[in-house]
Protein backbone atom coordinates (compact mmCIF):
# COMPACT_ATOMS: atom_id res chain seq x y z
CA UNK A 1 0.00 0.00 0.00
CA UNK A 2 1.37 3.38 -0.87
CA UNK A 3 2.25 5.66 2.04
CA UNK A 4 -0.35 8.19 0.99
CA UNK A 5 -3.15 5.64 1.11
CA UNK A 6 -1.79 4.42 4.41
CA UNK A 7 -2.02 7.92 5.89
CA UNK A 8 -5.51 8.46 4.54
CA UNK A 9 -6.69 5.11 5.90
CA UNK A 10 -5.17 5.91 9.29
CA UNK A 11 -6.77 9.35 9.28
CA UNK A 12 -10.14 7.84 8.49
CA UNK A 13 -9.72 5.28 11.27
CA UNK A 14 -8.77 7.97 13.77
CA UNK A 15 -11.61 10.21 12.67
CA UNK A 16 -13.97 7.26 13.12
CA UNK A 17 -12.69 6.54 16.62
CA UNK A 18 -13.00 10.18 17.58
CA UNK A 19 -16.49 10.43 16.09
CA UNK A 20 -17.66 7.40 18.06
CA UNK A 21 -16.08 8.78 21.22
CA UNK A 22 -17.52 12.26 20.70
CA UNK A 23 -20.95 10.78 20.09
CA UNK A 24 -20.65 8.71 23.25
CA UNK A 25 -19.60 11.77 25.22
CA UNK A 26 -22.45 13.87 23.82
CA UNK A 27 -24.97 11.18 24.74
CA UNK A 28 -23.39 10.59 28.13
CA UNK A 29 -23.47 14.31 28.78
CA UNK A 30 -27.15 14.37 27.92
CA UNK A 31 -27.87 11.45 30.25
CA UNK A 32 -25.85 12.97 33.09
CA UNK A 33 -27.64 16.28 32.61
CA UNK A 34 -31.05 14.64 32.74
CA UNK A 35 -30.13 12.67 35.84
CA UNK A 36 -28.81 15.70 37.70
CA UNK A 37 -31.78 17.81 36.63
CA UNK A 38 -34.11 15.06 37.80
CA UNK A 39 -35.82 14.91 34.43
CA UNK A 40 -36.84 11.80 32.49
CA UNK A 41 -34.21 10.31 30.19
CA UNK A 42 -35.73 10.28 26.75
CA UNK A 43 -33.63 7.65 25.04
CA UNK A 44 -34.51 8.07 21.39
CA UNK A 45 -34.15 11.87 21.23
CA UNK A 46 -30.86 11.60 23.10
CA UNK A 47 -29.54 9.16 20.52
CA UNK A 48 -30.74 11.05 17.47
CA UNK A 49 -30.06 14.58 18.70
CA UNK A 50 -26.34 14.67 17.75
CA UNK A 51 -27.07 13.61 14.16
CA UNK A 52 -29.96 16.05 13.88
CA UNK A 53 -27.76 18.82 15.22
CA UNK A 54 -25.11 18.03 12.63
CA UNK A 55 -27.68 18.17 9.86
CA UNK A 56 -29.04 21.46 11.16
CA UNK A 57 -25.52 22.85 11.29
CA UNK A 58 -24.99 21.87 7.68
CA UNK A 59 -28.30 23.50 6.78
CA UNK A 60 -27.44 26.73 8.60
CA UNK A 61 -25.33 29.37 6.94
CA UNK A 62 -22.29 30.97 8.48
CA UNK A 63 -21.92 34.53 9.69
CA UNK A 64 -19.03 36.91 9.72
CA UNK A 65 -17.99 39.92 11.74
CA UNK A 66 -16.50 43.25 10.83
CA UNK A 67 -12.97 42.77 9.63
CA UNK A 68 -12.30 39.35 11.21
CA UNK A 69 -9.06 37.44 10.84
CA UNK A 70 -10.59 35.10 8.27
CA UNK A 71 -7.72 32.65 8.10
CA UNK A 72 -7.67 32.35 11.86
CA UNK A 73 -11.39 31.64 12.02
CA UNK A 74 -11.05 28.86 9.47
CA UNK A 75 -7.89 27.34 10.91
CA UNK A 76 -8.81 27.27 14.61
CA UNK A 77 -11.48 24.51 14.57
CA UNK A 78 -9.52 22.53 12.03
CA UNK A 79 -6.40 22.80 14.18
CA UNK A 80 -8.23 21.59 17.27
CA UNK A 81 -9.67 18.63 15.36
CA UNK A 82 -6.24 17.83 13.96
CA UNK A 83 -4.70 17.92 17.43
CA UNK A 84 -7.28 15.47 18.72
CA UNK A 85 -6.41 13.21 15.82
CA UNK A 86 -2.71 13.61 16.51
CA UNK A 87 -3.21 12.44 20.07
CA UNK A 88 -5.51 9.60 19.06
CA UNK A 89 -3.01 8.16 16.55
CA UNK A 90 -0.75 7.32 19.48
CA UNK A 91 -3.36 5.29 21.36
CA UNK A 92 -2.28 1.65 21.84
CA UNK A 93 -5.18 -0.70 21.18
CA UNK A 94 -3.38 -3.95 21.93
CA UNK A 95 0.13 -5.24 22.68
CA UNK A 96 2.34 -3.30 20.30
CA UNK A 97 -0.68 -2.24 18.27
CA UNK A 98 -1.04 1.47 17.67
CA UNK A 99 -1.52 3.42 14.50
CA UNK A 100 1.83 5.00 15.19
CA UNK A 101 4.39 4.32 17.85
CA UNK A 102 7.12 6.94 17.70
CA UNK A 103 9.84 6.69 20.34
CA UNK A 104 8.82 10.11 21.52
CA UNK A 105 5.08 9.46 21.45
CA UNK A 106 4.70 11.09 24.80
CA UNK A 107 6.34 14.30 23.59
CA UNK A 108 4.11 14.23 20.52
CA UNK A 109 1.07 14.02 22.78
CA UNK A 110 2.36 16.84 24.94
CA UNK A 111 2.89 18.97 21.85
CA UNK A 112 -0.68 18.25 20.76
CA UNK A 113 -1.96 19.44 24.14
CA UNK A 114 0.30 22.48 24.03
CA UNK A 115 -1.10 23.47 20.66
CA UNK A 116 -4.64 23.39 22.04
CA UNK A 117 -3.86 26.75 23.60
CA UNK A 118 -2.92 28.10 20.18
CA UNK A 119 -6.15 26.79 18.66
CA UNK A 120 -8.38 28.25 21.37
CA UNK A 121 -6.57 31.56 21.47
CA UNK A 122 -6.79 31.89 17.71
CA UNK A 123 -10.46 30.97 17.78
CA UNK A 124 -11.25 33.69 20.27
CA UNK A 125 -8.96 36.28 18.76
CA UNK A 126 -9.97 36.05 15.14
CA UNK A 127 -13.60 37.33 15.11
CA UNK A 128 -12.55 40.79 16.39
CA UNK A 129 -15.37 40.72 18.90
CA UNK A 130 -15.32 41.46 22.62
CA UNK A 131 -16.76 38.29 24.12
CA UNK A 132 -14.62 35.83 22.14
CA UNK A 133 -11.58 37.98 22.82
CA UNK A 134 -12.09 37.75 26.58
CA UNK A 135 -12.47 34.00 26.22
CA UNK A 136 -9.20 33.79 24.33
CA UNK A 137 -7.25 35.69 26.97
CA UNK A 138 -8.81 33.71 29.76
CA UNK A 139 -7.69 30.55 28.11
CA UNK A 140 -4.22 32.02 27.88
CA UNK A 141 -4.11 32.14 31.68
CA UNK A 142 -5.66 28.69 32.06
CA UNK A 143 -3.40 27.07 29.48
CA UNK A 144 -0.17 28.49 30.83
CA UNK A 145 -1.16 27.16 34.25
CA UNK A 146 -2.25 23.66 33.30
CA UNK A 147 0.65 22.97 30.98
CA UNK A 148 3.25 22.07 33.61
CA UNK A 149 1.03 19.96 35.92
CA UNK A 150 -0.16 18.13 32.84
CA UNK A 151 3.34 17.32 31.61
CA UNK A 152 4.49 16.29 35.08
CA UNK A 153 1.50 14.06 35.74
CA UNK A 154 2.15 12.26 32.48
CA UNK A 155 5.91 12.18 33.00
CA UNK A 156 5.61 10.01 36.08
CA UNK A 157 4.18 7.27 33.87
CA UNK A 158 7.31 7.30 31.72
CA UNK A 159 9.56 6.40 34.65
CA UNK A 160 8.63 2.69 34.93
CA UNK A 161 8.50 2.37 31.15
CA UNK A 162 12.02 3.81 30.76
CA UNK A 163 10.77 5.20 27.49
CA UNK A 164 8.72 8.00 26.05
CA UNK A 165 6.79 5.65 23.78
CA UNK A 166 3.14 5.37 24.74
CA UNK A 167 3.11 1.70 23.75
CA UNK A 168 5.96 1.05 26.16
CA UNK A 169 4.24 3.05 28.87
CA UNK A 170 1.25 0.73 28.62
CA UNK A 171 3.42 -2.37 28.46
CA UNK A 172 5.14 -1.37 31.70
CA UNK A 173 1.77 -1.63 33.45
CA UNK A 174 1.45 -5.38 32.84
CA UNK A 175 1.84 -6.16 36.52
CA UNK A 176 0.68 -2.99 38.22
CA UNK A 177 -1.37 -0.14 36.82
CA UNK A 178 0.03 3.33 37.18
CA UNK A 179 -3.08 4.48 38.99
CA UNK A 180 -1.94 2.33 41.91
CA UNK A 181 1.73 3.06 41.56
CA UNK A 182 1.23 6.82 41.54
CA UNK A 183 -2.20 7.60 42.98
CA UNK A 184 -1.81 11.38 42.62
CA UNK A 185 -1.25 11.18 38.88
CA UNK A 186 -4.75 10.40 37.66
CA UNK A 187 -6.59 13.07 39.69
CA UNK A 188 -4.17 15.74 38.54
CA UNK A 189 -4.44 14.48 34.99
CA UNK A 190 -8.23 14.60 35.12
CA UNK A 191 -8.34 18.14 36.48
CA UNK A 192 -5.98 19.22 33.77
CA UNK A 193 -7.89 17.21 31.18
CA UNK A 194 -11.01 19.24 31.95
CA UNK A 195 -9.00 22.38 31.32
CA UNK A 196 -7.59 21.02 28.04
CA UNK A 197 -11.10 20.40 26.77
CA UNK A 198 -12.40 23.59 28.49
CA UNK A 199 -15.17 21.50 29.91
CA UNK A 200 -17.40 21.65 32.97
CA UNK A 201 -15.88 23.50 35.92
CA UNK A 202 -12.97 24.64 33.76
CA UNK A 203 -15.03 25.88 30.85
CA UNK A 204 -13.60 29.36 31.21
CA UNK A 205 -13.01 30.41 27.58
CA UNK A 206 -16.46 29.34 26.38
CA UNK A 207 -18.23 30.03 29.66
CA UNK A 208 -21.79 31.17 30.19
CA UNK A 209 -20.73 34.52 31.61
CA UNK A 210 -19.32 35.33 28.18
CA UNK A 211 -22.45 34.10 26.36
CA UNK A 212 -20.40 31.38 24.68
CA UNK A 213 -16.98 33.03 24.84
CA UNK A 214 -14.71 32.12 21.96
CA UNK A 215 -17.60 30.56 20.06
CA UNK A 216 -20.06 33.42 20.65
CA UNK A 217 -19.65 34.59 17.05
CA UNK A 218 -19.73 31.14 15.42
CA UNK A 219 -22.73 30.02 13.46
CA UNK A 220 -23.71 26.90 11.60
CA UNK A 221 -21.10 24.48 10.40
CA UNK A 222 -18.10 26.25 11.90
CA UNK A 223 -19.77 26.28 15.31
CA UNK A 224 -20.62 22.61 15.10
CA UNK A 225 -17.13 21.70 14.01
CA UNK A 226 -15.63 23.61 16.93
CA UNK A 227 -17.84 21.74 19.38
CA UNK A 228 -17.08 18.38 17.82
CA UNK A 229 -13.37 19.15 17.82
CA UNK A 230 -13.57 20.01 21.49
CA UNK A 231 -15.43 16.79 22.30
CA UNK A 232 -12.83 14.89 20.26
CA UNK A 233 -10.06 16.49 22.27
CA UNK A 234 -11.75 15.33 25.47
CA UNK A 235 -12.06 11.83 24.02
CA UNK A 236 -8.36 11.80 23.12
CA UNK A 237 -7.45 13.04 26.59
CA UNK A 238 -9.59 10.33 28.19
CA UNK A 239 -8.25 7.59 25.91
CA UNK A 240 -4.62 8.47 26.56
CA UNK A 241 -5.34 8.92 30.24
CA UNK A 242 -6.75 5.40 30.28
CA UNK A 243 -3.63 4.17 28.52
CA UNK A 244 -1.21 6.00 30.79
CA UNK A 245 -2.88 5.41 34.16
CA UNK A 246 -5.45 2.62 33.87
CA UNK A 247 -3.34 0.03 32.10
CA UNK A 248 -4.73 0.57 28.60
CA UNK A 249 -5.64 -2.75 27.04
CA UNK A 250 -4.74 -4.87 30.08
CA UNK A 251 -7.63 -6.59 31.77
CA UNK A 252 -9.08 -10.03 32.34
CA UNK A 253 -11.35 -12.02 29.99
CA UNK A 254 -12.37 -9.27 27.56
CA UNK A 255 -10.24 -8.49 24.50
CA UNK A 256 -7.78 -5.59 24.74
CA UNK A 257 -9.52 -3.00 22.52
CA UNK A 258 -12.70 -3.47 24.51
CA UNK A 259 -10.84 -2.72 27.72
CA UNK A 260 -9.46 0.42 26.11
CA UNK A 261 -13.00 1.45 25.21
CA UNK A 262 -14.32 0.64 28.69
CA UNK A 263 -11.61 2.56 30.52
CA UNK A 264 -11.95 5.52 28.18
CA UNK A 265 -15.68 5.40 28.76
CA UNK A 266 -15.10 5.44 32.51
CA UNK A 267 -13.01 8.60 32.31
CA UNK A 268 -15.52 10.18 29.93
CA UNK A 269 -18.29 9.39 32.42
CA UNK A 270 -16.32 11.18 35.13
CA UNK A 271 -15.99 14.19 32.82
CA UNK A 272 -19.70 14.14 31.94
CA UNK A 273 -20.53 14.07 35.64
CA UNK A 274 -18.12 16.91 36.40
CA UNK A 275 -19.84 19.00 33.75
CA UNK A 276 -23.11 18.96 35.64
CA UNK A 277 -22.04 18.58 39.25
CA UNK A 278 -19.26 21.13 39.60
CA UNK A 279 -19.54 24.90 39.33
CA UNK A 280 -17.25 26.92 37.10
CA UNK A 281 -14.04 27.87 38.89
CA UNK A 282 -12.99 31.49 39.16
CA UNK A 283 -10.01 31.95 36.89
CA UNK A 284 -7.70 33.40 39.51
CA UNK A 285 -8.50 30.56 41.83
CA UNK A 286 -7.58 28.01 39.18
CA UNK A 287 -4.31 29.72 38.29
CA UNK A 288 -3.32 29.92 41.94
CA UNK A 289 -4.22 26.31 42.66
CA UNK A 290 -2.46 25.07 39.52
CA UNK A 291 0.83 26.73 40.39
CA UNK A 292 0.87 26.52 44.14
CA UNK A 293 -0.81 23.13 44.60
CA UNK A 294 -0.83 21.10 41.40
CA UNK A 295 2.77 21.74 40.33
CA UNK A 296 4.32 20.73 43.67
CA UNK A 297 1.94 17.77 43.99
CA UNK A 298 2.79 16.61 40.48
CA UNK A 299 6.50 16.87 41.27
CA UNK A 300 5.96 14.98 44.49
CA UNK A 301 4.13 12.36 42.47
CA UNK A 302 7.10 12.03 40.11
CA UNK A 303 9.61 11.60 42.90
CA UNK A 304 7.51 9.31 45.05
CA UNK A 305 6.72 7.01 42.17
CA UNK A 306 10.41 7.18 41.26
CA UNK A 307 11.41 6.19 44.77
CA UNK A 308 9.25 3.08 44.55
CA UNK A 309 11.06 2.05 41.40
CA UNK A 310 14.51 2.14 42.97
Amino acid sequence: MSPLLEVIAAAAAVAGLLAVGALALAIGDGVAGAVVAGRPIRVLPLLTAPVARAMLAARTGSTTTERPDGAGRAVAPALLAGLAALAMVLLPLGPGVALADPDTGFVVYSAAVAFVMIAVFLHGWSPNSTLPLHGAYRFGAVALSFQIPFLLAMLATALPAQSLSIVRIVEAQAGLWNVVREPLGLPIYLVVGLAVGFWGPLNLPDGDDLAGGTSAEDAGWARWLWQVARLSMLVAVAALGAAAFLGGYFGPILPGPLWVALKTGLLLAVMAGAQHLLARVRIERFVGVAWVLLVPLALLNVFVSGAFLL
Partner: protein, 188 residues
Protein backbone atom coordinates in the same frame (compact mmCIF):
# COMPACT_ATOMS: atom_id res chain seq x y z
CA UNK B 1 10.11 6.05 5.23
CA UNK B 2 11.42 5.96 1.72
CA UNK B 3 14.03 8.39 0.45
CA UNK B 4 11.71 10.16 -1.96
CA UNK B 5 9.14 10.76 0.74
CA UNK B 6 11.78 12.14 3.05
CA UNK B 7 12.96 14.51 0.34
CA UNK B 8 9.41 15.61 -0.31
CA UNK B 9 8.72 16.19 3.38
CA UNK B 10 11.97 18.07 3.72
CA UNK B 11 11.08 20.31 0.80
CA UNK B 12 7.64 21.00 2.29
CA UNK B 13 8.98 21.71 5.77
CA UNK B 14 11.72 23.96 4.41
CA UNK B 15 9.24 25.89 2.36
CA UNK B 16 6.97 26.39 5.36
CA UNK B 17 9.87 27.34 7.62
CA UNK B 18 11.22 29.96 5.23
CA UNK B 19 7.95 31.38 3.93
CA UNK B 20 6.51 31.62 7.44
CA UNK B 21 9.80 33.18 8.60
CA UNK B 22 9.48 35.88 5.97
CA UNK B 23 5.79 36.41 6.69
CA UNK B 24 6.66 37.21 10.32
CA UNK B 25 7.97 40.58 9.17
CA UNK B 26 5.48 41.14 6.38
CA UNK B 27 2.22 41.04 8.33
CA UNK B 28 0.46 43.86 10.13
CA UNK B 29 -1.17 41.67 12.77
CA UNK B 30 0.99 40.93 15.78
CA UNK B 31 -0.86 37.72 16.55
CA UNK B 32 -0.30 36.51 13.05
CA UNK B 33 3.38 37.40 13.30
CA UNK B 34 3.77 35.31 16.45
CA UNK B 35 1.91 32.38 14.95
CA UNK B 36 3.90 32.59 11.72
CA UNK B 37 7.02 32.35 13.82
CA UNK B 38 5.48 29.34 15.54
CA UNK B 39 4.82 27.77 12.14
CA UNK B 40 8.44 28.39 11.20
CA UNK B 41 9.62 26.72 14.40
CA UNK B 42 7.24 23.80 13.95
CA UNK B 43 8.50 23.20 10.43
CA UNK B 44 12.10 23.38 11.68
CA UNK B 45 11.13 20.82 14.30
CA UNK B 46 9.80 18.65 11.48
CA UNK B 47 13.13 18.87 9.66
CA UNK B 48 14.91 17.86 12.85
CA UNK B 49 12.68 14.80 13.13
CA UNK B 50 13.54 13.94 9.53
CA UNK B 51 17.20 14.23 10.43
CA UNK B 52 16.71 11.61 13.14
CA UNK B 53 16.72 14.06 16.04
CA UNK B 54 13.20 13.07 16.96
CA UNK B 55 13.33 14.16 20.56
CA UNK B 56 14.89 17.54 19.86
CA UNK B 57 12.45 18.25 17.05
CA UNK B 58 9.36 17.40 19.03
CA UNK B 59 10.56 19.20 22.14
CA UNK B 60 11.23 22.30 20.05
CA UNK B 61 7.65 22.19 18.78
CA UNK B 62 6.28 21.62 22.28
CA UNK B 63 8.25 24.46 23.86
CA UNK B 64 7.55 26.93 21.09
CA UNK B 65 3.78 26.51 21.42
CA UNK B 66 3.88 27.99 24.91
CA UNK B 67 6.53 30.57 24.12
CA UNK B 68 4.75 31.88 21.05
CA UNK B 69 1.45 32.13 22.89
CA UNK B 70 3.18 34.31 25.48
CA UNK B 71 4.80 36.22 22.67
CA UNK B 72 1.44 36.88 21.02
CA UNK B 73 -0.06 38.01 24.33
CA UNK B 74 2.83 40.33 25.16
CA UNK B 75 2.96 41.73 21.65
CA UNK B 76 -0.71 42.61 21.72
CA UNK B 77 -0.22 44.23 25.11
CA UNK B 78 2.48 46.65 24.14
CA UNK B 79 2.26 47.21 20.42
CA UNK B 80 0.32 50.12 19.08
CA UNK B 81 -2.33 48.96 16.63
CA UNK B 82 -1.73 45.29 17.53
CA UNK B 83 -4.09 43.74 15.03
CA UNK B 84 -2.85 45.80 12.12
CA UNK B 85 -6.22 47.46 11.59
CA UNK B 86 -4.38 50.46 10.26
CA UNK B 87 -1.80 49.43 7.69
CA UNK B 88 1.62 50.44 8.83
CA UNK B 89 5.28 50.34 8.07
CA UNK B 90 7.32 49.54 11.12
CA UNK B 91 10.78 49.18 9.63
CA UNK B 92 13.77 51.42 9.60
CA UNK B 93 16.85 51.11 7.42
CA UNK B 94 15.15 48.37 5.39
CA UNK B 95 17.77 48.39 2.67
CA UNK B 96 20.68 47.89 5.04
CA UNK B 97 18.74 45.16 6.80
CA UNK B 98 18.01 43.31 3.58
CA UNK B 99 21.65 43.55 2.51
CA UNK B 100 22.82 42.34 5.92
CA UNK B 101 20.35 39.46 5.82
CA UNK B 102 21.45 38.39 2.36
CA UNK B 103 25.10 38.65 3.31
CA UNK B 104 24.53 36.56 6.41
CA UNK B 105 22.69 33.97 4.37
CA UNK B 106 25.35 33.84 1.65
CA UNK B 107 28.18 33.68 4.13
CA UNK B 108 26.75 30.82 6.15
CA UNK B 109 25.41 28.95 3.16
CA UNK B 110 28.75 29.47 1.41
CA UNK B 111 30.66 28.06 4.33
CA UNK B 112 28.25 25.16 4.52
CA UNK B 113 28.44 24.36 0.85
CA UNK B 114 32.12 24.94 0.23
CA UNK B 115 33.44 23.37 3.38
CA UNK B 116 33.81 19.63 3.52
CA UNK B 117 31.07 18.34 5.81
CA UNK B 118 32.36 15.11 7.29
CA UNK B 119 29.93 12.25 6.96
CA UNK B 120 29.66 10.61 10.33
CA UNK B 121 25.94 9.96 10.86
CA UNK B 122 24.57 9.32 14.31
CA UNK B 123 24.67 5.57 14.85
CA UNK B 124 21.34 4.99 16.53
CA UNK B 125 18.96 7.95 16.65
CA UNK B 126 16.43 5.87 18.57
CA UNK B 127 18.72 5.67 21.58
CA UNK B 128 19.46 9.40 21.44
CA UNK B 129 17.05 10.36 24.20
CA UNK B 130 18.54 7.90 26.65
CA UNK B 131 22.02 9.05 25.68
CA UNK B 132 21.02 12.62 26.36
CA UNK B 133 19.70 11.56 29.73
CA UNK B 134 22.97 9.88 30.68
CA UNK B 135 24.87 12.90 29.41
CA UNK B 136 22.73 15.14 31.63
CA UNK B 137 23.39 13.08 34.71
CA UNK B 138 27.02 12.35 33.93
CA UNK B 139 29.39 14.56 31.97
CA UNK B 140 27.14 17.55 31.61
CA UNK B 141 25.86 17.49 35.16
CA UNK B 142 27.29 20.93 35.82
CA UNK B 143 25.72 22.37 32.71
CA UNK B 144 22.41 20.89 33.80
CA UNK B 145 22.55 22.32 37.29
CA UNK B 146 23.79 25.64 35.95
CA UNK B 147 20.77 25.71 33.69
CA UNK B 148 18.62 25.23 36.79
CA UNK B 149 20.23 28.17 38.54
CA UNK B 150 19.98 30.26 35.39
CA UNK B 151 16.29 29.52 35.10
CA UNK B 152 15.79 30.39 38.76
CA UNK B 153 17.59 33.68 38.23
CA UNK B 154 15.42 34.30 35.19
CA UNK B 155 12.22 33.63 37.10
CA UNK B 156 13.17 35.83 40.01
CA UNK B 157 14.53 38.55 37.77
CA UNK B 158 11.59 38.57 35.40
CA UNK B 159 9.08 38.79 38.19
CA UNK B 160 11.04 41.39 40.10
CA UNK B 161 11.25 43.55 37.00
CA UNK B 162 7.76 43.04 35.67
CA UNK B 163 5.44 42.44 38.60
CA UNK B 164 3.11 45.34 39.34
CA UNK B 165 3.34 44.97 43.09
CA UNK B 166 4.87 42.83 45.71
CA UNK B 167 6.17 42.84 49.22
CA UNK B 168 8.15 45.95 48.43
CA UNK B 169 5.15 47.97 47.29
CA UNK B 170 4.02 49.21 43.95
CA UNK B 171 6.38 48.97 41.03
CA UNK B 172 5.63 52.53 40.01
CA UNK B 173 7.02 53.75 43.31
CA UNK B 174 10.24 55.63 42.94
CA UNK B 175 9.76 56.07 39.23
CA UNK B 176 8.28 59.49 39.80
CA UNK B 177 10.50 62.49 39.48
CA UNK B 178 11.08 64.25 42.77
CA UNK B 179 8.85 67.29 43.08
CA UNK B 180 10.24 70.79 42.89
CA UNK B 181 8.83 71.77 46.25
CA UNK B 182 9.27 69.55 49.26
CA UNK B 183 5.56 69.67 50.12
CA UNK B 184 4.58 68.56 46.65
CA UNK B 185 6.39 65.29 47.30
CA UNK B 186 4.46 64.81 50.47
CA UNK B 187 1.10 65.49 48.91
CA UNK B 188 1.70 63.09 45.98
Amino acid sequence: MTGALIDLSFAAFSLVAIVAGVRVFRTDSMVRAAFYLLASFAATGGIMVLLGAEFLGMVLILMMAGEMLVMAIVMVMYMMNPAGLNPMVMVHQPRTAVVAGVIAFLAIAGVGLSGEVPSRPAPDPAAATAELGRELLGNSMLVFQTAGVTLLATMVGAIAIAAPRGRHGDAAEGSEEPGLQPDEEASA
